[in-house]
């Protein structure tokens, strides 16, 4: 089973995800901010990161993903650049901005819409682990 880090400032959302993932036998870690998330990544070295798109600011999730996937070879996070990222988003359906996993624009592997659907979340995790 996998080590999964959830980075989200909403404790209820974290709880819902934790319950699903632990029920499926995964090991769950949590962080409530981008900064906390970065130090957790170094400590935990997770297999998958679940990242909320909006935390304290509307783009902090994006920025964290960009930091992790920085193309700069001297980036302090270069060794974590290959950890798969699932982005939790609520703007996927309603915003006129089209979101798609795009390595230039949004360096994430998948999107999951809020509210979290347990079945869909687990299916996504399995797909990523299978790669």
């Amino acid at each position: 089973m996998a080590k999964i880090l959830i980075i989200d400032d909403d404790p209820d959302m974290v709880l819902a995800a934790r319950l699903c993932l632990e029920n499926a036998g995964h090991e769950v870690y949590e962080a409530a901010s981008s900064r906390e998330g970065l130090s957790s990544i170094e400590q935990v070295r997770p297999d998958i990161i679940i990242l909320d798109v909006m935390m304290d600011t509307t783009t902090s999730g994006f920025q964290l993903a960009l930091t992790l996937r920085s193309p700069d070879p001297n980036s302090p996070y270069a060794e974590y650049a290959n950890i798969p990222i699932i982005m939790l988003t609520a703007i996927h359906t309603t915003s006129p901005v089209k979101l798609s996993p795009d390595s230039d624009y949004l360096p994430v592997d998948a999107f999951i819409d809020k509210p979290i659907d347990p079945t869909a979340l687990l299916k996504q995790i399995e797909e990523i682990l299978a790669k």
């Binding site: 819902a16 609520a90 006129p96 809020k114």
Partner: protein, 616 residues
């Protein structure tokens, strides 16, 4: 205080204006002047022949008939040549000023040659035809702008002198035409001098008066055109920077000034912020802040009257005399921009010659500044509205996010329970939790619609519109929604013209419009009914119809259909949930794309929704 100079001194400015104008425009003015001179010359040639005939045959005057007839015919001949030339110019649509000037010079030279011969044939210094010289001078002064008319006074006098001289030294004979007149008047020094003196003086005065009248007329004409151009330029846009730029440029152009700038009072009322400039160097514009405390000149202007500065580098009211000097500015005119309730700022124009601006300029610039004030206030109101709208949309989005976060969290937890992650639920528990989930769904839908509505007020506008064919999007949305129709056993058909109909839209917005209209049609049409989507091109528009055999809309409620949160009474009774925002989103988006929306009930049953988009 600013000295306002007597308006008689404005000749230099006018000359400058004329020189500049000569270079840049008014070729057609010169052209129409030539045309009128040609027309007048027809009259002159014919008149010469006719008057000669009358004088000889009716009055028995001892005229030299043949040379006079010949002169008339020569005039008519070269006039024909010029008339043909002008017609060719007109048809070529190309009126360059340079060849026109050459044509003018040639015409005037030929005219003077003929006039010399005419004077000689009609008696030289004793000719009763001498006033004809003056008529020609005045006509050229009036009809041909930007010529130097005083030359003609000299030429006229010289022609008289020359003819008299040639006759005096018997190079050509002296011809007496008035019976009883002494035949040796050209030998009478006193007579010759007095005729020449009176002729020169009268000609000079006439030309002077005529040309100053014409100058003033043309100056006024230019001012009116400039004022008209100014008002047209600044009322054609609501963008504040553009309004200000045009204002500065047209003020400088109209006053033949080297530069112009507009400074507006900031919020504190202490500083004058540079808002627009024209024709000034960057280093001058960067010279430093202009504050009320240090710029006496602006304080004077802000008190409500225009200020003239005749010697700018030496004027104690100037805040930056060194910079003014190095920019080459020698005189200034500063007019207040007076808004409806307060003075908004100043409009300055700069000239590189001392005492360049006049009393007329003061009046003119004040008028321009007043025009500018109106445009400025309009643009400010528009900008405020735009800001308020942006802020409101931003606020709605933030609030919506805050509203949605707890709902989605609650739903996420609910689904964890409902899907048995934490253990099996009793039927009753599952039923209750299911109901809660449904209500939260409705709430989320409402919040999402609100978010979209807020987005339509900003994002779609900010998003770049692209030119795409309409039908593929329609087809895609119809196919995307087909499963909803099939669940209700509805027939969903699509009728699209084959030729591409391009529209200028944001694709997501267009998709949202179609989803809302088709979704509604499916939602409110009972099982077994029909939903039909049609696209029809008419004129420069393309109309998309979404027709259903659904429950219809009460006639009296049709007009409220597009209001936010409005739901038709019969729709509410169906028990189908809805937010009442879908159609107002449709309207907002379609109108942002330059289209229109309408709805009406069909004969029998059902509704037709129509939206149009301009073809791109």
């Amino acid at each position: 205080m600013g000295r306002i100079k007597p308006s008689g001194d404005d000749k230099q400015a006018l000359d400058d204006l004329e020189l500049k104008s000569l270079r840049i425009l008014f070729a057609d003015d010169v052209y129409s002047g030539i045309k009128r001179i040609v027309r007048a010359r027809w009259g002159a040639g014919i008149l010469l022949v006719v008057v000669t005939a009358i004088s000889v045959y009716l009055l028995n005057l001892p005229l030299r008939v043949l040379p006079l007839y010949l002169l008339g015919i020569i005039i008519l001949l070269y006039n024909t040549a010029f008339a043909l030339y002008i017609r060719r110019c007109a048809s070529s649509q190309h009126m360059a000023l340079k060849p026109l000037r050459r044509v003018i010079l040639l015409q005037v030279a030929l005219d003077w040659l003929c006039l010399s011969v005419f004077i000689h044939l009609t008696g030289g210094i004793a000719s009763p035809g001498i006033p004809v010289l003056m008529i020609h001078m005045l006509m050229v002064t009036i009809l041909l702008p930007y010529q130097t008319p005083y030359w003609f006074v000299i030429i006229g006098t010289l022609v008289l002198l020359l003819v008299t001289g040639l006759e005096l030294f018997n190079v050509i004979p002296h011809i007496g035409v008035i019976p009883g007149f002494p035949l040796d008047l050209h030998r009478n020094t006193f007579y010759v001098l007095s005729v020449l003196t009176f002729f020169a003086a009268t000609a000079f005065m006439s030309v002077y008066l005529t040309s100053s009248i014409m100058r003033r007329l043309r100056w006024r004409e230019r001012q009116i055109i400039a004022l008209f151009e100014t008002s047209r330029a600044i009322s054609s846009t609501l963008s504040l920077p553009e309004v200000m730029d045009r204002l500065a440029k047209s003020a400088a152009d109209a006053l033949n000034a080297q530069g112009a700038l507009i400074r507006l009072l900031d919020e504190t009322g202490d500083q004058l912020k540079m808002t627009a400039s024209y024709g000034l160097s960057q280093s001058y514009l960067d010279k430093g802040p202009v504050s009320i405390a240090h710029s006496k000149l602006d304080v004077e202007a802000l008190s409500g009257t225009a200020v003239l500065v005749d010697d700018a580098p030496a004027d104690s009211r100037i805040q930056y005399p060194e910079q003014v000097k190095s920019e080459g500015i020698r005189s200034m005119l500063v007019a207040p921009i007076r808004g409806s309730s307060r003075v908004l700022g100043v409009l300055r124009v700069y000239a590189n010659r001392p005492a360049s601006f006049t009393n007329d300029d003061v009046v003119f610039l004040t008028a321009v500044a007043e025009q500018g004030a109106i445009a400025l206030e309009n643009a400010l109101v528009h900008e405020n509205l735009h800001d308020v709208n942006q802020e409101r949309a931003q606020f709605v989005r933030l609030v919506t996010h805050e509203l949605r976060a707890p709902v989605t969290s609650a739903q996420s937890l609910l689904r964890v329970l409902l899907q048995g992650v934490t253990g099996t639920l009793t039927n009753q528990q599952a039923d209750i939790l299911g109901r809660i989930d449904l209500r939260l769904n409705t709430l989320l839908e409402l919040i999402n619609d609100l978010l979209t509505l807020a987005a339509t007020k900003t994002n779609f506008l900010a998003q770049e519109l692209t030119r795409i064919p309409l039908q593929p999007v329609v087809l895609e949305v119809v196919e995307h929604m087909r499963h909803l129709a099939e669940e209700k056993h509805l027939s969903l058909t699509c009728d699209l013209p084959s030729e591409a109909l391009p529209v200028l839209v944001a694709e997501d917005g267009l998709r949202r419009v179609l989803e809302n209209l088709i979704g509604n049609a499916i939602k409110y049409t009972p099982e077994g009914g029909q939903v039909r989507v049609r696209v029809v091109e008419y004129g420069a528009q393309v109309a998309t119809y979404v027709e259903d055999t659904g429950i219809g809309i009460p006639e009296e409620e049709l007009q409220n259909l597009w209001n936010e949160f409005f739901r038709a009474t019969n729709a509410k009774k169906t028990g189908i949930t809805g937010t009442g925002l879908g159609l107002s989103i449709v309207k907002q988006v379609v109108e942002q794309f330059g289209g229109t929306v309408s709805a009406q009930n069909r004969e029998g049953q059902g509704t037709v929704f129509r939206f149009t988009l301009p073809l791109a």
